[in-house]
């Protein structure tokens, strides 16, 4: 039995190789457009209710917390701006990423795991289809496209939730709220923070696909692949977020 560290290094090596192959596969034909669109619908559109409702709730809570903090300094007028910046720069992308690593990661891990143990992946190969392209790359592309779009939806509903809380507390009009909120947001707040979620999408899809296609030990293995997909992609996503925020600050100093 090799030492644990060697096994761990081997797993990291295999995972990295898988991720590199997936990244390269995104740019090389065949493109499997139809299957990618299907995945975009399955992974993207079907996640909208979760993201929209969560965004709304996050916006309300964030607004209440911001009010409680800023009221101490008599700076209630800054609430929409504070909320918008917090939401767009960090809360929206990270919350959306973590929610989607649960919703999408578990789904991909379980689906591909089930396909593996029932030989459906072998069957794809046997009918002369490259399963990596058909199953993995399509999901990776769909996630890289869907996660930033879903993050934008979360930001929008979060702002809406913030407005609901604000108007309930002060009777502020929508136009005044939006003017204050958007007046404070700059390009460097919105675009890099949203684009970094493309990396989140890549991580979620690659990790859960890797664990799915390497599932062993039948249905028990499928459950394990699903759970580990969520755990691993969430951890990697949080770590990647630290690095990405550092990179964003390097190019766009606060």
């Amino acid at each position: 039995m090799p030492p644990l560290i060697l096994l761990w290094l081997e797993a990291v090596g295999r995972g990295s190789q898988f991720a590199f192959r997936a990244f390269r596969g995104m740019f090389l034909p065949p493109y499997e457009i139809q299957e990618t669109l299907r995945q975009l619908f399955e992974l993207g559109s079907r996640s909208v209710p979760l993201i929209a409702v969560s965004g709304l709730a996050v916006g309300v809570v964030l607004s209440m917390h911001t009010r409680a903090s800023l009221a101490r300094f008599g700076a209630e007028a800054l609430i929409p701006a504070g909320l918008a910046i917090a939401l767009v720069r960090e809360t929206g992308p990270l919350t959306a990423g973590l929610l989607l690593s649960g919703r999408i990661g578990a789904g991909i891990g379980a689906e591909l795991g089930a396909m593996k143990v029932t030989e459906q992946i072998d069957a794809l190969e046997a009918v002369a289809v490259d399963p990596f392209k058909y199953l993995v790359v399509t999901r990776v592309v769909a996630c890289v496209i869907a996660v930033p779009l879903l993050t934008t939806i979360m930001n929008a509903t979060g702002m809406l939730g913030g407005f609901a809380a604000e108007t309930a507390a002060t009777g502020m009009s929508l136009s005044a709220y939006l003017k204050t909120a958007f007046g404070s947001i700059q390009f460097s707040d919105l675009i890099p923070a949203t684009l970094k979620t493309m990396v989140f999408g890549f991580i979620i899809a690659v990790v859960s696909s890797y664990l799915g296609v390497n599932t062993t030990q039948g249905t028990e293995g499928v459950g394990r692949a699903s759970t580990r997909s969520v755990v691993m992609s969430s951890i990697l996503l949080i770590v990647a977020n630290v690095i990405l925020v550092r990179i964003i600050f390097f190019f766009y100093p606060a």
Binding site: E119, A123, L124, A128, D130
Partner: protein, 249 residues
């Protein structure tokens, strides 16, 4: 066997999964239009042998040739071309469970032919009709019995009119009448289309109907090979017992 180059050839194939050696120096040669049946007790490497032929499993040692091409280390693009000429029926059918039975059969046609949607559906219905599932185009795989799934898997394996058919227990789980119909279909296919077949089965009457050569595997090694009569007269008691126990003649 004819003198022409073999369509399927395994040369000294050895394969282990972890510490367990599943195949040990296995050789197999199948000429065009012939049928070979792989026999043996459960867990002796029969399915793994089939998977080597379509490149789903790579040997640790030895070479695998299909229609004269060495597929052992073949790149995926070239292997894809080889696979288009092979139909594979999996032991548990391995239907894609997210699409209907008809679309499972249509899947290879949509991927590898330029037929329009109507022609593909029509061909898929025809294939399903051949295996007695004419009315099940829109059914989902989960709604079918094990035997029906097996037949749908066979229809999918035949979709591209393969030159080589690999079938892993084609009549397992079927009632005797349906099993006989499937056997008749395979025999007719071999005769009519000159399809080369490698079949794994425990059903000796089926094997006698389909195959002209037999390979008996035991603990990953070839214990006996030859015609059905050769196996009936084998010096190995295990082979003779297997042929008798499974209903010889």
């Amino acid at each position: 066997m004819s003198d022409e180059a073999p369509v399927v050839e395994l040369r000294d194939v050895t394969k282990a999964f972890g510490p367990k050696r599943v195949l040990d120096d296995v050789c197999l040669t199948v000429a065009r239009g012939h049928g070979v049946c792989i026999l043996g007790r459960s867990g002796t490497g029969k399915s793994v042998t089939l998977k080597h032929i379509v490149g789903l499993v790579k040997p640790d040692a030895g070479r695998v040739f299909v229609e004269g091409r060495d597929i052992t280390d073949m790149p995926i693009a070239a292997l894809t071309d080889v696979r288009k000429r092979i139909g594979f029926l999996f032991q548990n059918a391995a239907l894609f469970d997210s699409i209907s039975v008809g679309e499972n059969v249509a899947f290879p046609l949509r991927r590898h032919t330029r037929l329009d949607d109507g022609a593909i559906r029509s061909r898929a219905r025809e294939l399903l009709g051949q295996v007695g599932l004419g009315g099940e185009y829109n059914a989902m795989p989960a709604d079918l019995s094990g035997g029906m799934r097996k037949r749908a898997g066979l229809a999918r394996a035949l979709a591209l009119e393969p030159a080589i058919l690999l079938a892993d227990e084609p009549s397992a789980g079927l009632d005797p009448v349906t099993a006989a119909e499937i056997d008749a279909l395979l025999v007719d296919l071999k005769r009519r289309s000159n399809t080369t077949m490698v079949v794994v089965t425990h059903n000796i009457p089926s094997a006698r109907a389909i195959a002209d050569q037999f390979l008996f595997l035991h603990e990953g090694r070839v214990l006996e090979r030859g015609s059905a009569e050769d196996l009936d007269r084998s010096r190995s008691p295990l082979v003779r017992e297997f042929m008798r126990a499974q209903g010889a003649g």
